[in-house]
């Protein structure tokens, strides 16, 4: 709902809202203001999501690409499907576009099953990973392709193309052929083409994978800005977790055809549902151990590598005794002596003594590897907040790596 209300408040800023949802038809300006007052794609019922995926499964031969997957996506949401290659995320996207048919389950768009709707009749558009621009058509004709198929009037097509060209900042490029464009420009044409029909849902298959790092980062921002202005539901498939974290409202992490977790970027990072996700998303220190005692939702876990650790337990509580304590590197602080505030472990501070084994200066942060007495490594990353490095540690130096109980996560194996 956060996203929805934001869309509503910015509706008057959106030049593209004038056509309405179904709207490949012309709307006069007076109608447009009425249209703009309404929120974007109206769900069938208040609590009905725009897109509902119900235990969908798809196999290729013996390979189960998507396995009994269920997911709801709200109107106006920016949703990311994140996972390693071969996890089924692209297959899921292709089923939404209609290029693959689910073996089992249903896909509901606005409450209606879209199984019988052919790909060229779905109010869903896709931006392809390789862009799939038509090489024999100019930028203008590429963007107009979908509009012509929708039987739009010639003048309206010209107006919409001009609008889309302006939206992706490609003015002056209209007559060029795709092979006369740079990678970034091609990406914009693909985006404009897939948005021109004003789909209810835009599917983006690794849209930034072909761009270099700098361009990718600026394009991320532009995509988000665009999505905010248009209010279109975006579903993006990516294997790049940073990309997913930056852009998406919610992320669905996929593994072996199933959704391992669906959460906001923050929850995904700070409260991963499993050890696999904790390791897949970001860096992490992991210590296997056994729960020794429980005291007011504070656990004491005995680990072979890091000794006894005090850990805060979140809801739901762990049920098993064999657990894994996880701590993100940026939450591990280093100091020359143990922090003074810790008296008798009342603040739940864990201290691990060791020797700095490796220092990596990365500009904004410095990452350290500390070898504990057990031989295990603890990774720590600290922001370089001061220009003169009074806090830097050298390899070979004895340090205390410490972190609070609240910063630890307890994961079941």
């Amino acid at each position: 709902m956060k996203r929805l209300s934001r869309c509503r408040s910015t509706a008057s800023l959106r030049p593209l809202s004038t056509g309405g949802e179904s709207g490949l038809k012309d709307v006069t300006s007076s109608e447009a203001s009425v249209e703009a007052a309404k929120p974007l794609p109206e769900p069938a019922a208040p609590d009905m999501p725009l897109l509902r995926i119900e235990s969908v499964a798809k196999s290729f031969g013996n390979f189960r690409a998507v396995d009994q997957l269920s997911l709801d996506i709200r109107a106006g949401e920016f949703f990311a499907l994140l996972g390693p290659s071969g996890c089924g995320k692209t297959t899921l996207l292709r089923m939404l576009a209609g290029f693959e048919t689910p073996d089992e389950g249903r896909i509901l768009l606005g409450g209606k099953d879209i199984a019988p709707v052919l790909p060229h009749e779905r109010p869903v558009n896709m931006m392809f990973q390789n862009y799939a621009l038509f090489p024999h058509l100019s930028v203008r004709d590429n963007i107009a392709f979908g509009l012509k198929r929708a039987g739009m009037a010639r003048a309206d097509i010209a107006a919409r193309v001009a609008e889309m060209v302006a939206l992706v900042k490609l003015e002056g490029m209209e007559k060029r052929k795709p092979d006369q464009l740079s990678g970034g420009q091609r990406q914009r044409v693909a985006l404009a083409r897939s948005l021109a029909r004003r789909p209810q849902v835009l599917l983006l298959d690794e849209p930034l994978a072909a761009l270099d790092k700098k361009l990718r980062e600026s394009t991320q921002g532009e995509l988000m800005e665009l999505q905010r202005r248009l209010g279109t539901t975006f579903i993006i498939v990516t294997h790049d977790q940073e990309e997913a974290m930056t852009m998406a409202d919610r992320i669905g992490v996929m593994d072996a055809g199933r959704l391992a977790q669906v959460a906001t970027p923050r929850n995904l990072y700070e409260a991963p549902a499993s050890r696999w996700i904790a390791e897949f998303v970001g860096d992490i220190n992991l210590f296997n151990g056994q729960v020794m005692s429980r005291d007011h939702s504070r656990l004491t876990v005995s680990t072979s590598e890091a000794g006894s650790l005090t850990v805060s337990e979140l809801w739901p509580p762990v049920t098993k005794d064999v657990v894994c304590v996880a701590i993100r590197p940026e939450k591990v602080k280093l100091s020359r002596r143990a922090p003074a505030s810790d008296e008798g472990g009342s603040h739940g501070i864990n201290r691990l003594e060791g020797v700095v084994a490796d220092v990596n200066y990365l500009g904004g942060v410095t990452t350290y590897k500390v070898r504990l007495e057990s031989g295990a490594m603890v990774r720590s990353s600290m922001a370089n907040t001061a220009r003169l490095d009074v806090d830097a540690y050298l390899a070979g130096q004895r340090v205390v790596a410490w972190f609070t109980a609240d910063d630890c996560m307890v994961l079941e194996q």
């Binding site: 060229h120 869903v124 392809f128 390789n130 799939a132 038509f134 392709f145 198929r149």
Partner: protein, 304 residues
């Protein structure tokens, strides 16, 4: 520098080789033919005059040059026989190319959509007829099409016809022979273009509201035009000058230019007129070649 010296010479030779080939095996023979086409026919050995003899000195050579004339080309324009032959050649070549396109395109399309390992098999099946001599294959068609041939036997046995049908020495038989012989030349360039096409383009067209049929006409077909052009020219040009197939399979009431040339050359022993006909045919084929060249160049410019 040393590397450059090593590679420079063979590289330059390699660049010259095609030109050398063209000069030796096209331009020089063409000069002979052109000279004969400007000569007069005589009953002698060789059967034309003048004959350039370098040993007789400069005077005689100049005199020989003065004897050359365009009379034979004038004859080509004034005698219906030649103009009708040219026209028939063009009509036959155009019609055959069209039929070849209509048959070859779906086959090439089907081949390009086969799973990868079957594409090689299909390719071999297309090429396999080349392992038998072209002439033998045409004679085989005579066998099939003749009065008591295989085709008539089957048709009679199935009671589709009550009396043998005349197939041989008809235009239909000739078209059948031409289409059969040239089909691989149409399929291969088409297949080369179609198999390179990115499947996601069709999906994109589909996604943007084009039904599969419209996607074919809006995306696949325009993108396959270079292949269509290559295949069409690869068939059209040799069919215009085709001699064996019309001679063996078609009737004798109207001749293609290849047959007319053969008649002039071997039956009438009129080398100059036959040569003039050959030169005229070459000139006739230049415009389509230039057109193709221009299309290809535009294609290349588009890609760069």
């Amino acid at each position: 520098m040393s590397a450059r010296r090593i590679f420079a010479r063979p590289a330059r030779l390699a660049a010259i080789a095609p030109y050398l080939w063209m000069v030796l095996f096209f331009l020089v023979p063409f000069a002979f033919v052109l000279k004969i086409s400007l000569s007069q026919t005589v009953i002698a050995q060789p059967p034309y005059t003048p004959v350039f003899d370098l040993t007789e000195g400069r005077e005689a050579l100049t005199a020989a040059f003065a004897q050359l004339s365009f009379d034979n080309f004038r004859l080509l324009l004034h005698d219906d026989l030649y103009i009708l032959s040219y026209l028939r050649s063009l009509v036959v070549a155009l019609t055959s190319t069209l039929i070849l396109l209509l048959i070859g395109y779906p086959i090439a399309c089907g081949m390009a959509r086969l799973p990868q390992r079957w594409q090689g098999v299909a390719m071999i099946l297309v090429i396999v007829p080349f392992w038998t001599s072209f002439l033998i294959r045409i004679y085989a068609w005579i066998n099939i099409l003749q009065h008591d041939g295989l085709l008539n036997k089957i048709l009679l046995a199935l009671h589709i016809v009550s009396a043998p049908v005349v197939w041989l020495s008809t235009d239909s038989a000739m078209y059948l022979g031409i289409v059969y012989s040239y089909l691989p030349f149409m399929i291969l360039p088409l297949y080369a273009t179609l198999s390179k096409m990115d499947a996601s383009l069709l999906e994109a067209a589909n996604d943007l509201g084009a039904s599969p049929r419209r996607a074919f006409w809006l995306v696949t077909f325009p993108l396959s035009l270079p292949g269509v052009g290559a295949g069409a020219l690869l068939c059209f040009i040799p069919i215009v000058g085709e001699f064996v197939i019309p001679d063996l399979l078609a009737g004798s009431d109207s001749l293609m230019i290849g047959q007319t040339m053969w008649l002039e050359f071997f039956t009438n022993k009129d080398w100059p007129v036959a040569s003039a006909a050959a030169v005229a045919l070459l000139l006739l084929l230049v415009p389509p070649l230039l057109l193709y060249d221009r299309l290809q160049r535009r294609q290349l410019e588009g890609n760069s």
